[in-house]
């Protein structure tokens, strides 16, 4: 199947050559996807700016620290994105195992004295004033390695066999275990969803897919039954049923998020004018709860636009996947879509009081350097697939 692609792979392995073809590839980039992600980045910057203004009002132009850092993150992330998009995905594939092992090393380092505890989770590495979250990059690493394993059946086989599935399970379990050790339930869930999503669409035996789904459900049940969750996590799920029950306790976040979003109304209070936002009633409002700022200040019009942009982004990624003849690039896109789709849905659902509070940022929008870098890295992979592996067009 590889020979179907325009040329022998060994030529593509040459990094310099790959970059020289970038100009030609640009014409074939998915500009709808790019502009949607760009729009989310712009909206995100404004929301981060508003969410980090000091409480007493004042001139927004005088407190741009967070905004500038956020823009710097975006700049770096976009550069990385475009570089990755210019690379041949087959080149990237060759480095997938290295990327995967690198993220594992980082996840282990987190547990050493190099790691730092932020918000109750040992998920950060702090190096000389620089801090980053390896678990975000682990998502990309896992997608890459799973796509390699599931997308390249061995000789004589047309789809992944039990042996491959078991190996994938192991490959997923290692970072999952490390992440849960932090503990970071949100990222753990994302890793599971990436695995399940990619497995489902890999053509693996259906019995395995069903088995994994059942195992996942059983796992959730066990976690609940054997008290494996931290008390705060149980509280968060419990208060989802009625956020008003304990407004100053675990339900406080949910209740305040609902007030912020609801009070925004149809038109919103206008950027920088949200009273809930500026009173800092919603915690983590520039990261995990950024959507509530959109809800309050931009109203239904603005917030529904954000949802629409995410729909477009996911639609386009899945559309690119559908266009792939090869399983590897298709699974790459499926992995990215599973990740973005699940994380976005859970984050917005949490802001709207539909889902329990899990510390997941909103892709492209929330403040946070590593998260944005990981997001854009993934977008770069998808764009790279699109410019090189288009079997058909819509």
């Amino acid at each position: 199947m590889i020979t179907n692609m325009g040329g022998p792979p060994r030529r593509r392995h040459d990094l310099g050559r790959a970059l020289t073809t970038a100009a030609g590839g640009a014409r074939r980039l998915d500009w709808v996807l790019i502009s949607s992600v760009l729009a989310l980045g712009v909206i995100g910057s404004l929301l981060v700016w508003s969410a980090t203004l000091p409480g007493d009002g004042g001139d927004p132009l005088e407190s741009v620290d967070h905004l500038l850092r956020h823009l710097a993150h975006l700049g770096v992330a976009w550069t990385v994105c475009l570089l990755v998009a210019a690379l041949d995905y087959r080149t990237v594939r060759a480095y997938a195992p290295i990327a995967y092992v690198a993220t594992l090393v980082a996840l282990v380092l987190v547990l050493t004295p190099l790691g730092a505890v932020i918000n109750g989770s040992r998920g950060w590495i702090v190096l000389g004033g620089f801090q980053f979250q390896p678990s975000e990059l682990a998502k990309v690493g896992l997608i890459l390695v799973l796509a390699t394993l599931l997308g390249e059946p061995r000789d004589g086989e047309t789809r992944p066999m039990t042996r491959d599935v078991l190996f994938c399970l192991l490959v997923t379990a290692v970072p999952l275990g490390l992440v849960m050790f932090q503990p970071d339930l949100g990222t753990g869930l994302i890793l599971c969803v990436i695995f399940l999503g990619m497995l489902t669409l890999s053509g693996a035996p259906l019995v395995w897919v069903a088995g994994m789904a059942v195992a996942g459900a059983a796992g959730v049940f066990c976690v609940w039954w054997f008290d494996l969750l931290e008390p705060y996590q149980v509280d968060r799920i419990a208060t989802l049923v009625d956020p008003a029950a304990d407004p100053q306790g675990a339900g406080y976040n949910s209740a305040q998020a609902l007030i912020a979003v609801g009070s925004g109304g149809f038109e919103g209070t206008g950027l920088f004018h949200g009273e809930q936002t500026h009173g800092r009633f919603v915690p983590e409002q520039h990261t995990d709860f950024i959507f509530t700022v959109a809800g309050e200040e931009l109203g239904f019009i603005g917030a529904v636009s954000v949802i629409a942009l995410f729909t477009v982004v996911l639609w386009r990624i899945l559309r690119i996947a559908r266009g792939c003849d090869q399983p590897y690039p298709r699974l790459l896109c499926v992995g990215v879509a599973s990740w973005f789709g699940f994380q976005t849905f859970v984050n917005i659902g949490m802001g709207l009081g539909m889902l329990p509070v899990t510390g997941l940022p909103l892709p492209f929008v929330s403040y946070g350097g590593t998260a944005i870098l990981a997001n854009m890295l993934a977008v770069g992979l998808v764009l790279g697939v699109n410019s090189r592996d288009r079997g058909f067009e819509f």
Binding site: I259, V261, G279, F281, V304, I307, T311, P327, V334, G391
Partner: protein, 710 residues
Amino acid sequence: MHKPPVDPALPGRRLGRFGLFLAQFMVLVLFAALAARLWYLQVPMAEHYRELAVSNHHQELVVPATRGQILDSSGRTVVSNKTELMVSADYHELQGMPDGGEAVLSDLSEVLEVPLEELQQRMRLCGPEVQRPCWPGSPYQPVTLAEDVAGPVALQVMERAEEFPGITAQAQAVREYPYGEHAGQMLGYLQPVTQEELEAREELRTQFTGIDQVGRDGLEAVYDKELRGRAGLRTLGVNNHGEIMDVISERLPEAGTHLVTHMDMNVQKVAERALAKGMERARPRYRADSGAAVVLDVTNGGVVAMASLPTYDPAIWEGGIDQETFDSMLSEEAGEPLLSRAVQGTYPPGSTFKVSSLSAAVENGYSLRSTYACPGSVSLAGQSYENYAGAGQGSITLKQAIIASCNTVFYNFGYQMWKQDGGLHPDGEPEEAMAEMARGYGFGSPTGVDLPYETGGRIPDREWKRTFWEETRETNCSRAEKGYPEVAETDPSRAAYLKRLAHEHCVQGFEWRANEAVSFAIGQGDVLVSPLQLASAYAAIANGGTLYEPRVAKAMVAADGSRVEPVEPSVKGELPVSDKTISYLQEALTEVPKTGTAGGAFGGFPQDRVSIAGKTGSADAQGRQVSSWFASYAPADDPQYAIVVLVSQGGTGGATSAPIAREIYEGIYGFSSSGNAEDVEQGEPLLPDGRPHSELPVVRPDGSIETLEP
């Protein structure tokens, strides 16, 4: 379009295609669900969440209004506000410190010399599980840590502001009583609002700050609403830490109005001093345990002075009274100083009541021109009744019966009118002329004075007797059967007597008997009146028959003088007595302090300048010494004041109470007495020309008060 060759047999691809369609469809469904939820929250529910948002970041802060002052009729300050230094803490600022403010409080405890533990307790917010000491107010108000702090201490806190972040020393308003004990019961006091008061009074609820005090007695209670003013309201924008971000709206407090009273504090002081001296004179022969003196303006019912002894200084209520002091204030050993004898005390009126009995007799056909027998004793319905000291006067006019206070004349009236009504067994509706007349004089019901907890006294008649019998019958009948074994152990004859009495009460207790009607006529037996009721009745005789509701308040004046609302006199009724009878009574009463039972007490008083009219009373009550009364008014020819003096267990009216009244009159008119008419000197009267001020003191726009010169 170029399509690379594809092997359609690849199962992964087929499955992938279908699965991806499904995935795209799932994205649409899930994200549409998010949008629907968003719509629900932001469109139909927006109003609900906006309300929640407002209560989230708006904090209402009640700014108490300055309480109005209480002034006497010439503008002297009787109750005012003073400032006291207090140290308070910003609740949120201290809570926000890493150690919860412990270091700051610990430093503060050294400066204030208060244990750290106490300060920490006072910083706690009161709640169902937090008992006092704790902060009952809102955490947005400064939490009081120490009251009445000495100036140097407060200064230390202020000067070392950087060492005491979140702590302030500032002035706070508390009630001040420049006259100390004088008029204590009439003024009343303030106490923290109770839950019941909050529930009952809407204006308290809407302005409640958590540290409010309300008037609990006297004028402070009756005029609480006016004195209180209207609290201001500041709406503050706050963030999630409770830090104030801006002032959203502000309504300034409106200071309470000043209460100008009919009182004259000089007359009040003289009345209290004269009462105290008179009671002292009566001792040790008499107990003279308590007393009252009331000075009314007969032309409008204004209360010029009202003394009640023993008294107390209302300042004890400031800063929270402790349980021990409070208990002693209510104890009998301390003489129950909270009780106003003038308003709340009831006593048999004795001979001062004869004005009512005479009126009843005359209005029921006894002639003013006839003469009536005044023997040393009379036998009525098989029982003998004696005159005071047993002396007879022969045949006398009614006037002489008042002047000499002849009881037997009134015994006869009481008995005759009882018989007219059918005696023990009246046919049909009895007239009860004596009781009806007493009610016409205002006895038996509260006068309607603007002071709380007023008593109505008691005017007994057949109906009252029956009601009383029904209420006590069960006890009496059981006692009639079982006797008094506990008394019999020590005193068998008394037990036998009590048992007979119980039997009598059980069987015949409803009967209004001759002896009761006879006692009633001279203000004894079950008749009870308050000094204020008697003063109001004598004021009505003095002014020609108008019974006023006594009023302490004269006017309400705004704190900046912009509004003056006089309190109009209120007429309770007219005496049911002809003008002829009233002037006859006036003539008789005018004679009493000259040649009658109060002649001795007023010996040497310049009656040619100010003629006094009055009546003495000496009332017996079982198990108690004689209570002494003098009810009077002056000047007799142009009445202005009615003065009633009572000394409980104080001896005869002429010996104990009349001299007290005399001293008050001397004060009002400025006579300095030496007991001899020729020596009387005209000094400075307490009131100009012996008349109350007709104008009101002026409150200037800057809030200062222009006192009227006496």
